[in-house]
Symmetry: C3
Subunit: 135 residues, 3 copies
């Protein structure tokens, strides 16, 4: 049984829980609004909950893949730390967007920064490693 | 060449095929409706096919990541079995939603249960392992 | 530190950069159109940018997972090569769709072909391996 990268795995599962909580918020906003599936529009709070959820879904592939590549090819604990930053950014984004879409900036910047560190960190490390030898 | 986790890999690819089939159903519903891209609305069957596809896409990160973390950190065959349950739940959900959106509940519950077992199983196993020693 | 599969990792990160560029195009189209979040419709160029982004998001799980399973269970360099083909197909698709949605076909076919090679290649290799022995 693999026992490596458990901190990365833990942060990954916490991120998925935060993401799942956003799915639940969409369901609750839908129930409150009285709008039936498949409609997704017609109530401001439902539309905001949907956008919070979908913006997070849009960034999940960037975040999760960069997180693991950074952890595997460079540094496990830096990756896990950046993962915590990403989750905090995402929760701030969600809370601010539900209150007022115009205030979604700071949380979004925090999650973007965490993604950028993970993606460009992993990219730089892998290019450096390929350029300096090894197979 | 890695020969571990082939059952998990097989179930993963079957899940992607089920997911791809939903993408094809959207294309077919679009062709039948005569609605041209980029429009996604205006025909009930197209809207249902889109919602089936997107709801599945929304859960794919939770499912795929939890499936692999459960398989790698705990038990390969339980993970693969839960993966089969997830696929069945998703196909039931798709068939029911296309017939009548109000009947989408049971398939959705089955896929949610499979996701919950995989996510909380992996989470519990990793927390237990970190709490009881090892690096 | 794992030093395997660096070409696959490199192609993965390039694909995520191409995907991130599509997210940026949506933001730019939104700014140009003057349409405020959470609205996603009302301007043809914004709607096209959103569709380019979302169609790519829809295929990312199929592409990324099949890419890695092909690389791990079969052949690293073929996987990385198909990954490059996928990125080229996606960029052609984006450019054509923004110019005229009716011209999105060729880029879409290229990316579909790359996905099919990766998915069915990995599936065939894993089924063959399970059928001919080993655990």
């Amino acid at each position: 049984m693999m026992m490596q990268h458990r901190w990365t795995a833990l942060v990954t599962l916490l991120a998925l829980l935060a993401y799942f909580w956003m799915i639940v918020q969409v369901g609750r906003a839908r129930a409150k609004s009285g709008i039936m599936a498949p409609a997704m529009t017609g109530d401001p709070l439902l539309e905001r909950a949907v956008r919070v959820h979908y913006n997070t879904l849009e960034f999940l592939p960037i975040f999760l893949v960069s997180l693991w590549l950074f952890a595997v090819y460079w540094n496990e604990l830096v990756a896990a730390g950046m993962g915590i930053v990403w989750i905090i950014g995402r929760l701030l984004y969600a809370a601010a967007y539900m209150a007022d879409p115009a205030k979604r900036g700071p949380g979004f910047m925090i999650q973007s920064l965490a993604c950028a560190v993970l993606l460009f960190g992993a990219l730089g490390r892998i290019i450096y490693s390929l350029a300096t030898g090894g197979v």
